[in-house]
Subunit: 120 residues, 2 copies
């Protein structure tokens, strides 16, 4: 379960990235990498709270005919998060500053999710 | 209730924008503007389905200590949506192609939401 290098790679490759985690829908982080500058931001407790929200979205999204909901973002004025499903139990979440590169963040999660899945 | 010019302004100002609507949490669109090229995309039925998801997020977000959740995005591989609360009953939603300008879309909704609120 060598997640940490993958998470660090995501954070290092995306401008404005603050933290990247593998989390369960129970809100427990399996692994987390965050930049030092993000320590004042309480990333962990925020992510745990968002996990509960994402669980609701996942349940609702399963009812969608549109299918193929691959990502959900929850944004405040300061922090953007991008959450991407890895398996039915786990997801990847990337926290970015509001001026971070959202498109690059989406790309990094898209290519990293299958690599995380292989490690689970 | 002169929403339509505001919605058109959002769509015209954001690269890759497909449609912009004022919707209620019941899934009923109050007003919608969409570009002609988006007619093959069934924007309306997608947005109605997303309204149900957003309602769940809104309920869950009220439990968040982090507060200040201002936006939620639900993305598939083809379409990005940005949803921003206008009042307790209504929200603005912008649909973008996957290569659209997400940052500009966020900005356009942020400045348009209070103008819509004034009209409601």
């Amino acid at each position: 379960m060598a997640f940490l290098p993958l998470l660090e790679e995501v954070v290092r490759s995306v401008d404005g990235a603050l933290a990247c985690s593998v989390m369960g829908f129970d809100g427990i982080a399996v692994e987390n990498f965050q930049i030092d500058a993000a320590t004042d931001l309480d990333v962990q407790s925020t992510l745990i709270e968002y996990a509960a929200v994402l669980g609701q979205v996942k349940n609702a999204a399963q009812l969608l005919k549109t299918g193929a909901v691959t990502e959900v973002s929850i944004n405040s004025d300061q922090v953007l998060t991008i959450m991407r499903l890895v398996t039915d139990e786990y997801f990847l979440v990337l926290a970015l500053s509001a001026r971070g590169n959202y498109g690059k963040g989406r790309y990094a999660l898209r290519i990293t999710a299958p690599r995380i899945r292989d490690e689970l």
